[in-house]
Symmetry: C2
Amino acid sequence: MKELFGSPGRVSGLGLRVGQFSFAAASIGVMVSAREFFNSTAFCYLIASMGLQLLWSFGLACLDLHALRSKRNLQNPVLVSLFVVGDWVTSLLSLAAACASAGVAILYTNDLHYCKRPPFLPCSKFQISIALAFISWFLLAISSHVMFWLLANV
Amino acid sequence: MKELFGSPGRVSGLGLRVGQFSFAAASIGVMVSAREFFNSTAFCYLIASMGLQLLWSFGLACLDLHALRSKRNLQNPVLVSLFVVGDWVTSLLSLAAACASAGVAILYTNDLHYCKRPPFLPCSKFQISIALAFISWFLLAISSHVMFWLLANV
């Protein structure tokens, strides 16, 4: 197998995982601090999806750290297949959640004007949380593509 | 290059492309026929994105048909790279549009109850259009993965 930027068991891979779970945690934090987020199904789904991504990326970060410290090679076909499936499922769910929330946030801001009129929703917090979710998804998408490329080159 | 299900210049590839543009056209048709769709930015974006997918898939279907009739081989690295970039960009935009619209449709149906109370929006039409968009995206996602796999195996 080739050694690529972001492959499992490398410092770049560990960096990507740390970025993924940090941004996912920040996204959850900002969304939970926003008033009345629970009135929209999409925002609750974003929290659930970012929670899943947090757990997955944190788990893989621990695995990468263990592999780096014990100098073990994580690049065998069975492990990479597992990473590919997990990464793709998580990244699809995250993208779906981020896009659904973005659709609702734009509806609130531009179409229903709920930010400047009653019920005066905290749209800026929604937008920051969604932006953090998109960054987290983007980092996960890089990992997913690297894994898929590694698997195709087995 | 390997011969895979759905590769360019094969009957299965042509079938996928025909499915993609048919479902995209059906999604646009149902959405345009729904009253007050233009009040939501996400639904307008869905129409724009499905329009782009319609053009892209129709163009590639014509190319596949030409390759099948003249028995030419479309699987050279430059062409496949072009297909990969186009497929991935189109499929990301389609998924984002479908998810954003789904978020808004769920907000209308479950959270704001705009389907059973005034303004009595035609939620079932929105849902059918979004379901068709998801089917169209799913077919495009198959094509994208096949192309990426072909490119990785160059």
